[in-house]
Every structure is written in structure tokens, then in C-alpha cells.
Amino acid sequence: MIDKIRTADRRRLSLLTSVGDRFRALPKWQQAAAFLAFVAFLYYLPLLGVPGLTWLRTDSIAGGNNWAGVLFVCAIYVLVAIGLNVVVGLAGLLDLGYIGFFAVGAYSVALFGSVNSPVVKWIQQKFDLPPTWAVTWAICLLLAIVLTMIFGVLLGWPTLRLRGDYLAIVTLGFGEIIRIVARNATSITNGNQGISAIPGPEGAPSADNEVFGLIDAKPWYWLAITAVLLMVFAVRRLEHSRVGRAWLAVREDEDAAAVMGVYPFKFKLWAFAIGAALGGLSGFLFASRNAFIDPTQFNANLSILFVAMVVVGGSGNMIGVSLGAVLLAYLPERFREVADYRWLAFGLAMVLVMILRPQGLVPSRRRARELSDRAAEAEEVPARV
């Protein structure tokens, strides 16, 4: 049985690589055209109505969820996966508390942008502002990114010197700390009562908003997918820059990197801060779209789901992690009848993928090579773990 899966998987992978190689062999203009067509398809997706493909829509089943709404969640998770991939895939730091940054991003727009937040009320009182005053959405966006970067550095500074697996547990604790503080500090965050009326690009949620209204979720998806494309581009540039190469060097062998003049701590901290900022951005979009957040939405299970997206998809490879994110967000929505078993399925998927294909469904080529090197070493020398 397992052997059959392995063969099928090997065939699938060779197909994947051959498609990838063929694509890279295409002339530049055709690559660009194909890419543009793909982007156009992404923007067209919420309208998906091609006969024969409509079964993909989550609202094609009874009790199914809004298609554009689900696509928005997928896009947000892709953004999360890309951010976490910088930390886990590129820099090789296992962060189990990524939800903390997501929460900080969400809370920065909630606390400063909503008229219902205690913080805004306090500022209104202090400076004699009208009760409708709140920080504008665009400024909240900046705030979210800056605040999450600060949190990333704050967490990274003391902990990044720790060994990998210590770091994992400490970050898990960090994520819980953020959630518990958001729950307990009721005078600042409203606690579990949550904060409503979180603004969007057109201001506070209202039926009068022309584009980002209350009923239609499509514009939100388009906003999110635009953010995703921009960030994919940015992270890609980063990956192929000096910083990106430094991350890989640190991940492969920290000591060798240090000898060659790459100061690991500095680059790890960068990875943490950039990853955190991406998490913050996705939390920010999540909060503005839902217009309501409370601390129960940021529990440790979600952190583990984020890690699952990255490792199942193929850590280190942006296409892989995006696929992982889409699968894990989309499948439970489309197959709602088994939705109660989603965590069992996630757990099984993580175990199976790790045992059968530690490099993920769509592996990063460099990472796959690294792992097979280790396996070859293991055959030469009796196992030392």
C-alpha cells in the first residue's frame, strides 16, 4: 500500500519537475503571457461559472459557504503561509507562535481604527475629539506592519540564540501569551467581548459603502489577492537578494555561515521581523474584512494549522506553501459533511507527509537535495540523530 503511494508520488513529482523545466525553457514572452493569464484567472476566480467547474465552488453544496468569502480566507492564509515560509522555509526557524503576529496585526486595526475600541475612546476623551473619530484605515495598515515588526524583534531578540527546538516551544508560548493578554486585559482590548465595527478601506462597515460593502465579499477577495501578488513579488526579490542567500547559508550551516562573515543572529532577526510583518498584514486584512475580532479566534490550534500549511505544501517553496494554504483552507469548506474531522485529517496529513515526503508536496528543489543528502549520509554512517 505505502509502496504504491510512494510510486504514484514519485511519478507525480517527476511530472511536476518536467512541467517546471518545460516552463522555464519557454521563451520569455510566453512565460509572461502564461503568468498574466494565471493572474487574470485568479482575479476571475470569485465569478467562477464555467460549466463543469462550478462544483469547485463552496456554495454549490447545501449549507456551503460563500465562495468569494472562502476565497478571501484562502488568500489570507496564502499570505500567512508566505510570511511563515520566510521564517520556517528560508531561515529554518520553526515558529509555532505565528498566530501571535497575526493577532497583533488584527488588533492594531481593531484597537486604533474602531470607534468601539477602548483605546480609541480613551484618545477621544484625552484630546476632546468627536465620538466618530478613529485612526484612518491606511494609517492603521502602517501601524499594523510597524507594530508587528516591533513584536517580531521583541520576541526574536531574547530567543533567537536558542537552539531550534527550544525556539519552537518558546514561540508557542509567545503566541499563547498574546492571546491570553488580549483576553485578560479587558480595559484595553475588551477581552472576550471582542471589538466590532473595525474599518475597511472605505471607513467603518456600513451598508452605504460602495465597494467594500457588507453583503458582497468579492471586493475583499480582490484586495487580498492584490496584497498576495505584491508580497509574492517582494519576497521573491528578497529571496534572490543578499539577504535571501544569507538566510539559506544560515539554515544550511550556521557555523560555516558565521565563518564566512554572515552574522547569523542579524539575519535571523531580519527573517523574524519580515515574517512577522507579513503575518501582521494578513491579520490586518482579516480583521478589517470581518469587522469583528475576539481573542478566541487566535488560539494555538491555528498556529499549528499555519505550520501544517507550510510543511505539507513544501517549506521553502512559495508555490508549495501557497498550495498548502489553499488546500487546508478550502477542503474543509468544500467537504463540509466531514468538517468535524478536519483536525484529525490535518494531523494525519502532517504525519504522512513528514514520513513519506519530508520536503512537502511541492518541494523546494534545494531543500529536497538537502534532505536526500542527509538520507545518504545516514546510509553510510550508522544513524546518529
Binding site: 519557454l26 510566453q30 503571457a33 502564461a34 493569464a37 487574470a40 484567472f41 476571475y44 465569478l47 467562477l48 461559472g49 464555467v50 460549466p51 467547474l53 462550478t54 465552488r57 456554495d59 454549490s60 447545501a62 449549507g63 456551503g64 459557504n65 460563500n66 465562495w67 468569494a68 468569502g69 472562502v70 478571501f72 480566507v73 491570553i180 483576553r183 485578560n184 479587558t186 477581552g191 472576550n192 467581548q193 471582542g194 466590532s196 465595527a197 462597515p205 456600513s206 451598508a207 460593502g213 457588507l214 453583503i215 458582497d216 465579499a217 482579516f286 474584512r289 470581518n290 469587522a291 469583528f292 475580532i293 475576539d294 478566541t296 479566534q297 463540509r336 468538517a339 468535524d340
Partner: protein
């Protein structure tokens, strides 16, 4: 040569697919047909039907299903359909559902949300769509204070229940009440409301956290406060071990909790420790509930209605009556709900201007744990 031909063909084919795709639009879902026949229609019910808190919400879903089933049997040419949407209690999942339900014109009313968070998150959307929302169990006081005109609930809010608890405690000559809550929107909310009403008899308070197992610190505080009553705002998961450990530590204070503990798993989980605990609930005892609801429910599902079963039934009943009255559009139904005035199985249902059930019609009962049963004790005065 041949390969580049294939490639060009592929590009063209892809482009063609896209054009075709854009051409034959079938936006799906968005505009389902309206109800056929003279009456009948479609309603939605949303809540945590799976996940950790499903146990609290399933009875309400079942109650509503029962109401619809009985209606359809009694009115064969007036079919009503109810579509459940499982939010897992997560506001972020409830929001796209709200978009879906609001955008699908065939839905004429919504039962939900079952938790305050998901209700708060989706209220503006349903209001924008002009859909009436009837919640069987979202009790947070401020939900009806936000100027929303489409949110109604067939359950008393936390303020009303906390007032009744305070009156009960006074009547029992409670001199030192120790309050504990779990920090949840529900538990912290009702406990804070109670705190406002207790005055000098409040002897101390502590907050615990969800999934806590060991309560030594809290128990020590109760002992120091020499409390004669302990009020716990929260759910079964923490209440059961808490009361058990309190009793084991020799605290004799009476244990009082709100409807979150109106759950057969509470005495069971405390395995004997909950004996004599008082549970208040804005729900009528089975034999006092109107009609044959309890018996019907028992027959249909094989268990007693549990928390909010009757409220779910009542919520559905409001819409069913509207359909029977021939209402077929969202504004008509909203207006009908607003002026609803009938005896329900959980209480007499009539809404005040804000959407709360008329406070004078709210009925709150005290129950007492005996063995593994929750037995009705007395009706509580509201204030």
C-alpha cells in the same frame, strides 16, 4: 518546430478557455428561486454545530428542526425549508455565511447566532440585507443596545438573569458571595452584571481560564473570604472540576451558576461534587413548558431538550407563523417579527423596541442538582 506549434496552440487554448469562461457566466448561489405556492419559504440557522461547543448549540438546532418538521406535517401544501450553516462558533466563519445568506434572496429569515461573538460580527450584514435575525441563545446585554433594528432574541439577556440571581441571593440572606468567572464573553459578562447588583455582599472574586484543571489558588481565596455562596459564570468544562475540588477541600458554600451549566454533563463531570448546586436558567421546566414540546423532543431525539432546545423551537416558530400568515418578503417578515405577540414554549414571546424579549415576560427558574438530574426548584423574581 512542432513543439513551438504545440506551445502556441496551448497558449491560444488557454486564452480561449478564459474568454469562454468569462462568457458563460453562472454566478451560482446568488439568486435562487423564490418559494413556490401560496405560503412557505426558506430560513437559515447558523451556529456551532460542530466543534468544542457544539453540545450547547445542538439542542437549539434540534428544537428548530422539530418545529419545522411539525409545521410541514401539519401544512402539507405550505412547505418550509430550513438550511443549517455550521460556523463552529467562529465569527470569522460566520461572516462569509452571512454574506451567502444575505446574498441569496430565497432566504427570508435567520435563526442565530447562537453565541454573542458570531452575532455581533454578523448583525450589520443581516441588517443591511433586511433579514430578521432571531437568536435563541446570544445573551450578551449590549447586543441589543447598538441601534440594530433586525436583531431579536427569544432569550433573556445576561442583565435580566444576573438581576434574578442577585434577588435570589438576597432572598437566601447571602452575606458573603464569592464570584468566579472564566473570562469568556458569556461568563465574564454575566458575572460583571451580577457584581453590579450585589453591593456589600460581594466578598471577593477570581478569574480562571478555559481548560484549567487545578483550582488551588481560587479555593484558597474562597476559604480566606469565608464565603457562604460561590457564583460561577462560565461553562461545564471548568465548573465541574472546580465544584468537585471545592467540595473535596471542605468548602460548604452553596454553588450557584447560570444557564451555561444547565447541561447534563455538569453533574456527570463533577461525579457527585455538584450535588445541591443551584443553576439558574431563563428556561421553563419541561412540565411547565407550553404544549407537548418536551415530550415531542424526547420522542424525536431520544434525549431531554437540554439547553436552549425550547428557544430554538420558539425562534423557528416565529418565522413559521409568519409564513403561515402569508408573509413572503424580507420586509414583511421583519415587520411581522417586530410585532409578534404569542405564547411560545419557553416563554411568552413579544419583543421590546430594542429586540429583547419583553422583560416582564422573561421567566427565570432555579434548578438544583440531585444525583445526575437537574430538578426544577422555584421560579425566580426578576428584581
Amino acid at each position: 518546430m512542432r513543439r513551438s506549434y504545440v506551445r502556441a496552440l496551448g497558449t491560444v487554448a488557454l486564452a480561449a478557455t478564459l474568454v469562454v469562461a468569462a462568457g458563460c457566466q453562472d454566478s451560482g448561489g446568488g439568486d435562487g428561486g423564490t418559494a413556490s405556492g401560496d405560503c412557505g419559504g426558506k430560513i437559515a440557522i447558523f451556529g456551532a454545530f460542530t466543534g468544542d461547543n457544539a453540545g450547547l448549540v445542538i439542542p437549539s438546532l434540534n428544537g428548530a428542526k422539530l418545529a419545522v418538521k411539525q409545521f410541514n406535517e401539519a401544512n402539507p401544501n405550505c412547505k418550509v425549508e430550513m438550511q443549517p450553516f455550521d460556523t463552529q462558533g467562529d465569527p470569522a466563519v460566520a461572516t462569509p455565511f452571512a454574506n451567502q445568506i444575505a446574498g441569496d434572496k430565497s432566504f427570508l429569515g435567520v435563526i442565530g447566532g447562537h453565541f454573542s461573538g458570531e452575532s455581533d460580527a454578523t448583525m450589520p450584514i443581516y441588517q443591511a440585507a433586511g433579514l430578521a435575525m432571531i437568536s435563541p441563545s446570544a445573551t450578551r446585554t449590549d447586543l441589543t443596545q447598538k441601534g440594530n433594528t433586525s436583531f431579536y432574541r427569544v432569550v433573556g439577556n445576561d442583565g435580566t438573569q444576573a438581576g434574578a440571581v442577585a434577588t435570589y441571593l438576597k432572598a437566601q440572606n447571602a452575606a458573603k458571595v464569592f464570584m468566579i468567572d472564566d473570562g469568556s464573553a458569556y461568563g465574564a459578562g454575566i458575572t460583571a452584571e451580577l457584581g453590579k447588583n450585589l453591593g456589600a455582599s460581594l466578598a471577593g472574586k477570581d478569574k480562571i481560564q478555559e481548560k484549567q484543571a487545578q483550582f488551588d489558588a481560587t479555593i484558597s481565596k474562597i476559604k480566606s473570604a469565608q464565603a457562604d455562596f460561590v457564583f460561577y459564570g462560565g461553562y461545564t468544562r471548568e465548573a465541574a472540576p472546580l465544584v468537585k475540588q471545592m467540595r473535596a477541600a471542605g468548602i460548604q458554600a452553596k454553588f450557584v451558576g447560570p444557564d451555561g451549566l444547565y447541561d447534563p454533563a455538569f453533574p456527570k463531570g463533577a461525579s457527585g461534587g455538584a450535588e445541591g448546586a443551584i443553576i439558574t436558567c431563563p428556561c421553563l421546566p419541561a412540565d411547565k413548558a407550553g404544549g407537548t414540546f418536551s415530550a415531542d423532543y424526547q420522542k424525536e431525539y431520544g434525549i431531554a431538550p437540554g439547553s436552549y432546545g425550547a428557544e430554538g423551537f420558539d425562534g423557528a416558530k416565529v418565522f413559521l407563523d409568519a409564513f403561515k400568515d402569508g408573509k413572503k418578503t424580507r420586509p414583511d417578515i421583519l415587520a411581522y417579527v417586530k410585532s409578534y405577540d404569542k405564547q411560545g414554549v419557553s416563554k411568552y414571546i413579544k419583543f421590546d423596541a430594542k429586540g429583547d424579549v419583553d422583560p416582564s415576560k422573561v421567566v427565570i427558574w432555579a434548578y438544583q442538582i440531585k444525583g445526575e438530574a437537574i430538578e426544577p426548584l422555584q421560579e425566580l423574581k426578576l428584581s
